[in-house]
């Protein structure tokens, strides 16, 4: 009876030990796999960074037929004489229909056209 118990315990111990060893090998293999994946991630990161690099962008732009533009240019215009001393004229007529003004008053919105708003400010 006692011998049987010892044998069972021994077998149990051996099974556990074998399982532990197997698990350690599995872990080792997974660590190796992890290293490879990290290496692949590094490679992809470098590819990504390189794709955003100014040299790559310029090369791609050139291949697509894009060109640098002159950042500033003068707009052609005709000179307009403005008399700053002349009196300010009448504000533009509000053409908003009367019924719409009434509705606006009811719903408490600002009445009048944008021109009127601009003219009435300040």
């Amino acid at each position: 009876m006692a011998v049987g118990a010892v044998v069972i315990v021994l077998l149990f111990y051996l099974a556990i030990a074998a399982q532990i060893t197997q698990s350690s090998y599995d872990l080792s293999r997974l660590q190796d796999q992890q290293r490879q994946l990290i290496a692949e991630q590094d490679q992809l990161r470098y590819q990504e960074v390189t794709l955003h690099a100014p040299a790559q962008v310029q090369q791609q732009a050139a291949q697509s037929g894009m060109q640098r533009i002159v950042p500033s240019s003068y707009a052609q215009g005709t000179e307009v004489a403005i008399d700053l001393t002349s009196p300010i004229g009448d504000p533009p007529t509000d053409t908003t229909p009367l019924w719409l003004r009434a509705v606006a008053m009811v719903v408490n919105t600002v009445g009048g056209t944008k021109d009127v708003q601009a003219a009435s400010k300040h």
Binding site: S24, S28, Q36, Q43, R45, A53, A55, Q56, P71, S73
Partner: protein, 586 residues
């Protein structure tokens, strides 16, 4: 028994007893000696050699694996990554573990994937060597191909390698001279990689564990584990796009002018942060083992030059600040002035008559600079040079700064004061010179030049320090106006940018290169300026070394900064106006 009889037997008895004792004692001595020898030998192995034997035993059944720390990345101001850590592989063979029948297959596989010479490889495999490298540092794709072949006696070693972004010129990497590189011992060499080695490298960890007879790690066995502390990331003030534009304009300009070399440095006026740092010629930090070491040198920081007329900005600013002159002070300029027994001339040797200091700067007249220095006085002028940071290293956080200390104020000759006032007889590096001129752009304050804005999560403490007031804001404003006039009416005209004609400040500098104590016709040509003048977004200096502008073989003044350095400055400034969306203030 008679007494005689007893006494007659005694001698014989004494002999027997003495002999037995002697034997016992001898045996004891021998036993003690032998035991002592054994004990001493035991003590020797157990005590004296305990440490060594324990270590030998540990080496046999324990495995110590270093866990290298991940080196910190380097980012630009927009968090564009400038350096990436990649994994590369080295292949090795163990010829004594490869059966004769497998040699051809192994050699074929290795030569196909790695491109190595098969005949040489067969020679290695047939040798009695236990270990030999086949090829160093190849990318993962090739390593994967090798793994798939499952060649006996072939192993792969992993290593981390820094990978840098491509630069403008083929075979270069972006900002190579600024960043430096990391060698195979993981030590940063040159530039920021060297300067910030400690912060970037971190601290390696380790795993100490048991291994089995097949040399495989028993992960769940007793082991000690120390995690590595990864290196800190650096965030720079560099703008990768501006850096690229600078490298492009510089490379084209140096080639166009057939110059020996050139450099560009751009600074954020208000912080002193360096926006671009370009050298031409440059190199590929990804391929540093195949590079001429002369190219590793960074000319921005380690090349000393005489700044020439750019120095007049410093001289006149100091004189204005001291109240010795104003932009409208009128002087007489006969084209030369006699100092210390020497006649020192304007660049054109011409008599200008009565002119004011705005005209002096516009037309870069040496006589005017010397008179301003004399009006200010030697001592005040010397203090002025100190205040502008020209008598000490700039302290910028990049490895390898060169500088030449000026003699003390009392040791300087009159003629040296005179020539220094217009930028000859004084050696500076580009960082010192740009930082000095930037005082004007920054409202009279000295902004300490720097590259690193953040180390990990820590802000560079330099940025939190108050800036030193060198000249008053009023002086800086006056000098800005004078430098605007240089662009509008003087030698800065080739740098003009459309739309900014009234809001651009600059100054040219051209100085002859001394060789064996005599000035030659080779020059350093430079241009420094900031834009927009009233609210500067950047300050930039371009230095071209030994240009050969068309026609300069007949007239060396054709190599002047306005023909060589200014067009490069303009090209880069145009790119920045576009990229940074800069608009003029007036």
């Amino acid at each position: 028994m008679s007494t005689r009889a007893l006494s007659a037997r005694r001698p014989g008895t004494v002999d027997r007893v003495g002999s037995a004792r002697l034997r016992v004692v001898s045996m004891l001595v021998i036993a003690v000696v032998l035991a002592g020898m054994v004990w001493s030998r035991l003590a020797y192995w157990q005590v004296a050699e305990h440490g060594r034997l324990t270590m030998q035993a540990q080496e046999q059944y324990r495995e110590y694996v270093e866990l290298p720390a991940l080196r910190g990345a380097i980012f630009d101001r927009n968090l564009t990554q400038l350096v990436v850590n990649t994994t590369v592989y080295s292949a090795f063979v163990s010829p004594d573990q490869i059966a004769a029948a497998d040699r051809d297959r192994v050699a074929t596989g290795l030569s196909t994937v790695l491109g190595v010479d098969k005949t040489k490889l067969m020679g290695v495999l047939e040798s009695s060597a236990k270990f030999a490298y086949v090829q160093h540092r190849f990318p993962k794709a090739q390593a994967d191909q090798l793994r798939a072949l499952k060649l006996p006696g072939v192993g792969l070693e992993e290593e981390t390698q820094r990978a840098y972004l491509p630069g403008f010129t083929a075979g270069t990497t972006l900002a190579a001279n600024l960043l430096g590189f990391v060698d195979w011992n993981r030590d940063g060499k040159y530039g920021l990689e060297q300067q910030y080695q400690k912060a970037l490298a971190g601290t390696a960890g380790y795993i100490s564990s048991y291994r089995d007879l097949s040399d495989r790690e028993i992960v769940l066995g007793s082991h000690t584990h120390q995690d590595p502390v990864n290196g800190s990331d650096l965030v720079l003030s560099i703008d990768a796009n501006v850096q690229y534009a600078a490298e492009e304009a510089l490379a084209e300009g140096v080639k166009r002018d057939k110059a020996e070399s050139g450099s560009v440095l751009i600074m954020d006026p208000s912080t002193g942060g360096i926006v671009a740092w370009a050298d031409y010629p440059s190199y590929s930090a990804n391929n540093f083992t195949q590079t001429d070491p002369a190219l590793f040198k960074d000319n921005v920081l380690s090349y000393l030059y005489e700044p020439g007329s750019v120095m007049k900005v410093v001289t006149l600013s100091g004189a204005i600040n001291a109240g010795a002159i104003t932009p409208s002070t009128v002087i007489n300029d006969p084209g030369y002035v006699k100092v210390g027994g020497y006649n020192i001339y304007d660049w054109d040797y011409r008599n200008k008559g009565n002119i004011d200091y705005t005209y002096v700067l516009e037309h870069s007249l040496n006589v005017g600079a010397m008179k301003a220095m004399l009006a200010e006085g030697h001592d005040a002028y010397y203090k002025n040079l100190q205040a502008f940071g020209l008598t000490q290293p700039s302290g910028v956080d990049v490895a390898g700064e060169s500088y030449v200390p000026l003699p003390s104020a009392s040791q300087m000759q009159d003629s040296q004061y005179a020539t220094t006032s217009f930028g000859q007889g004084i050696d500076v590096n580009m960082v010192q010179m740009l930082s000095a001129v930037n005082v004007v752009a920054n409202g009279g304050k000295y902004a300490p030049p720097h590259l690193v804005e953040r180390i990990g999560n820590q802000v560079n403490p330099l940025l939190l320090q108050p800036q030193r007031q060198v000249v008053s804001p009023a002086t800086a404003a006056k000098m800005t106006t004078m430098m605007e006039q240089v662009v509008q009416n003087g030698s800065g005209w080739t740098s003009r940018i459309r739309g900014f004609e009234l809001d651009q400040a600059g100054k040219t500098g051209t100085s002859q290169i001394p060789v064996n104590g005599k000035y030659t016709q080779s020059v350093w040509a430079s241009f420094v300026g900031f834009l927009p003048a009233q609210h500067p977004k950047f300050t930039m200096i371009v230095v071209i070394r030994k240009p050969n502008y068309p026609g300069s073989e007949h007239d060396w003044t054709m190599n002047d900064g306005y023909l060589t350095a200014e067009p490069i400055w303009r090209q880069i400034a145009l790119a920045m106006v576009s990229d940074w969306r800069i608009t003029p203030d007036r």
